[in-house]
Symmetry: D2
């Protein structure tokens, strides 16, 4: 297939370019009789939308979602749910330079190599604008999880590393996450990051980040071995997010350094584990513990410093980015990561419902 769909029983297809008329997504596999309106989805989009803080891109988009189908009298009908988000802030900017030259670190070069044509306006299809669709679908996935599981299902994300600065204390607070511009779980760290990122922005530079997503309240038994393991599908989901270069589950890369004694989580009465190096997944199936995923976001390649590149016709040149851009795209990746977690879990929940005979 051509790649613009995700999921199996709960499946969606997104469409749209950064500066086209609109972007949108069609979700198939939404069970019927779930209460749903735009009000259930908009808050998720508001969390992701550009211009939220001084640290994210200054592009102004209201990102107002409109449900076009699949809902009748406030409830899902089991038919496809089509959602559209208009592109409002399509500055009639001059794209002639980007059109001619491949920006290093961007998909300009590869899209041209693959398709022989590309829409250069704002990155076209390769723009992170597409992630708004993921967030909208994530809102529905959350609804599905809450419909079929008990209501204390919770999916939450936080940034745990920004550029060179990790969390500087051990005080992880989910409350704090909602209070600063970085979805940072440590108040002290947020202050440091604020200073750091101001400098980065001033220099026209950018930095990467590591995000961590937790899902709690997920029952044991989700995931389809051996190729559609829960962690395998999560890895695909997270790696498909723009700018992501690494994904790990539980102890992740750290587990390479551990011994078997250190790594294996012991099990106690009540199916409780004494640790969670597994990140809530064993053999590709959920254990009932929190599912923990971390992913690395590279620094955006849209920077002020000129970089060497070539033109469409192969001539050497340099290029720098003048447009509005995020110094740390990792910030807005947090709600996107939460969405992908919810999406993968909802899909596996439905699949498990279909196949389950326990």
């Amino acid at each position: 297939m051509a790649g613009n769909s995700f999921g199996d029983l709960f499946r969606f297809t997104s469409w749209g370019e950064s500066h086209g008329l609109a972007i949108g997504v069609v979700v198939d596999g939404v069970p019927s009789l779930i209460k749903l309106s735009e009000d259930d989805i908009q808050p998720f989009l508001d969390k992701r939308k550009p211009g939220n803080s001084k640290h994210t891109t200054q592009r102004k988009e209201d990102d107002i979602v409109k449900i076009m189908s699949g809902v009748y009298q406030g409830k899902t009908t089991g038919t496809p749910l089509s959602m559209i988000i208009e592109n409002k802030d399509q500055r009639s900017k001059d794209y002639s330079e980007i059109e001619k030259t491949f920006r290093p670190g961007h998909a300009d070069f590869t899209y041209m190599e693959k398709y022989g044509i590309r829409d250069p306006r704002g990155g076209g299809r390769s723009s992170a604008r597409e992630t708004a669709c993921r967030v909208a679908v994530g809102a529905i996935a959350n609804k599905i999880l809450k419909t079929f599981l008990d209501s204390n299902v919770k999916i939450r994300g936080a940034m745990v590393q920004m550029g060179e600065i990790a969390l500087i204390d051990d005080k992880w607070s989910w409350d704090e996450v909602e209070k600063n511009d970085f979805f940072c779980p440590s108040k002290k760290t947020a202050v440091e990051w604020d200073k750091y990122l101001k400098d980065v922005r001033k220099n026209g530079s950018s930095v990467g980040a590591v995000i961590e997503i937790h899902a709690s309240g997920i029952p044991a038994g989700l995931g389809e071995p051996v190729y559609d393991k829960l962690d395998a599908d999560l890895a695909k989901a997270f790696m498909s997010i723009n700018a992501v270069k690494g994904v790990e589950i539980g102890a992740g890369f750290e587990s390479a350094f551990l011994t078997g004694e250190q790594n294996a989580d012991e099990i106690r009465t009540g199916k409780v584990f004494t640790s969670n190096n597994a990140g809530g997944i064993l053999g590709g199936i959920s254990t009932g513990q929190d599912i923990v995923v971390r992913f690395a976001v590279k620094p955006t390649s849209s920077i002020l410093t000129p970089k060497k590149s070539i033109t469409k016709t192969g001539k050497e040149t340099t290029i720098s980015t003048k447009g509005r851009h995020d110094p740390c795209v990792g910030i807005r990746a947090v709600p996107v990561g939460e969405a992908m977690m919810a999406i993968v879990l909802a899909d596996h929940l439905l699949r498990n419902r279909g196949l389950n005979n326990k």
Copy 2:
């Protein structure tokens, strides 16, 4: 779907339990007229098979592959290729303890939670024995790549970290990789690892590892954005391998620490990049540079030290492993990783052939 298939146009389904009659795999989407016999596949299996070195499990399996269909007079016919590998060394061991108790770090608990039944003999379906099927398919994927691309396509893997010990010098040699027991690209390091692993084995312990896989000779343009990005499919492929807890592309998690200036690979005449932090993939599409993936393998949870766990009926107990096991399962993960790389690339190559209009 129930999870035992992988790929799209080049697609396979594996079957079999560790101690059943046999394991096998059916490959659909093998183009016709490719010269193929067991001799093309067996060397790949030999590289992976247990008992290869003193450092891998002492289970004796010849892992002789037999092609059951899809080949006529030495050439593929375009019909499904079925391959079978008999399980020879199925010691009529006493599985009663494993049958009753969930081994920490293994899939025993989750399979029982999901299915309400599990085949405890040698881990059943969750055993790494299934990876032999991946390696057999990888051999065919290699054939496909060589058929449609020029012949200098090369897929190679190496172990770059074993437990606490990283490569101790910068002398990366692909020749060296084939000369030691660890697929280690550094002679010096291999000596250290040998000592280290002997200790680990003596203590009945185990260690994790990091593996790196390179694909060279891959043209630009492979990968289907935005959900079936080449890196997304690679992430899924690698994360689906037993015991893998993390996957990264190019600079991977390191990229979180970089600035935009440091991270973006510049482009020069001839579509050559001056660095490869991207790991050969931009926007989910191959750049024509080497594709570089690293993945982390946790230490096997089969260790001598007793660990706390519960029985099927929920009673607390302890369990240790007495069987034959690898102190570092990462070693045998190298050919498996090479196979998954070849598989993902072959699939995307065929998909790109189908959709390409450049």
Copy 3:
């Protein structure tokens, strides 16, 4: 999956209810660099749209298609093509009776049984209005066929039976098809049908039809045995059209009456067949002859005569249809059938391109 998508490499997902804001479709797998605008699609929609003749529903819909994505400077970019058609004529009619009672022969009962909810306005998702999306996708499929095959590819349909009246002479004329209200290939027959259908309409009744679709200029070799045979996928495609109850290829049901001598098409120099009982398909693969499919459309169940039924709560009642309806829905099924033929062929063409090594 939840059923609103069709195709493999060339794949689309449609959405929308009869009386919602709009209907639409997202097409993934459109190769890049194909010239495309609304002008290429609109004529196909115009052929299908209601109110075209006195014999089709009097609902007034302009069915103006709008391309929302996937095209840049008049050419496809390889990214998803989203198309939207607004629902203009949503009479604020009283749906309370339909809402309460299941119309016999309609999907009212089964949608409620399946989903526990249904959008009763104009049939909601089960309305034939959805077929406008198929026709729009068919226009793109035609473009793909013309791009990769030589330009004399031709897909044409005709009605060959209306109610009890078959074609009354042997003068099949494709030119004639475009000249009458029935896509009838025989002038004489068209006159008879006109009289016949006026009576049917006057009586508030309806009749069924048989449609025949031909594809010429299709090369040998399309189709993927043994489950995705070209004829199997065509059967699915046509049977998925609203009101279709039967599909046959070539001699079809007639072949049951034939002997082997009568049925087998002989082959002559130049790969020419002396007859085409096979309908252009052998073993699920195209032969290079014309592909010929026929399908039966039942009479619409929307009739004036009251029929016995039950209400949502299970009480017995009667119901008749007062709204605007087609006395012969088969007429408008002709362009829909042409679309489905083009869609299946385009998909198999791309799949064959991907897998082909001849």
Copy 4:
């Protein structure tokens, strides 16, 4: 995909050539904890196997199925079920003529056109031998239906037309079906067919047939509109069977001749329909009435009379079939049709379980 798989949540992939070592099938999506052994499958295969009566091919195959995986202690484990059937009667016959010449009405020509190579021994992959795999999977599908539905689910088939001779009386008896060589529901007709077919065989000729399959005890609500309608998937399933040229549901092609008054099935208290022209499906979803499918099987093209054809190199020639062949392949299509019905229903049952929120 390359076409050798069928189904979505309940999905299988078959492999093997007519005269290879074996044929087989891997079934993924079998729920766990279902009692299953070869004894549950063999009777289905025995019903289909060649040499059952004087009227079917004299090829001798025991068709002994062996389960290779997915079952532990007599119960399914939720992992893939691999089944193998050895090819015993591979006469070391001379295939040189078939190898060189395309038999009219067979897939010889199209396989060569598609793949550039074909296994000519007994028809290779295009042989109806593959249908043994379908029958084995059908046995498992039946088990799934009985597991999740109440036990009076029943899937039964009968031949209703052989060549020119239809059922000659109205006495349809399911008991009678099991008593004659033709799965004929009318005793009188079976006698006529016996005489008729003897003549056909004597003349080295062959005849077509029409088969009818009924599924009773199927609840309302199965089927996923609008493309994976239950009837659409049934149409694909049946059309994919070797030699099938037409499929119809309920009144089928006959419905084209009916008026809306005649065709629409009225509904009465208890969700009972007064007729079943719909064949148990409305809007692609089951109504709870019997599901009724008919399909047409063409006469086998393997006949004694020489037919004109061409050789691989394009030279004109004639060819006749000397081998062992069925004068009416429709007979053995009855158990295959029953299998496909069970398979489609089992798949839709699981999908509905996954998505259902009623």
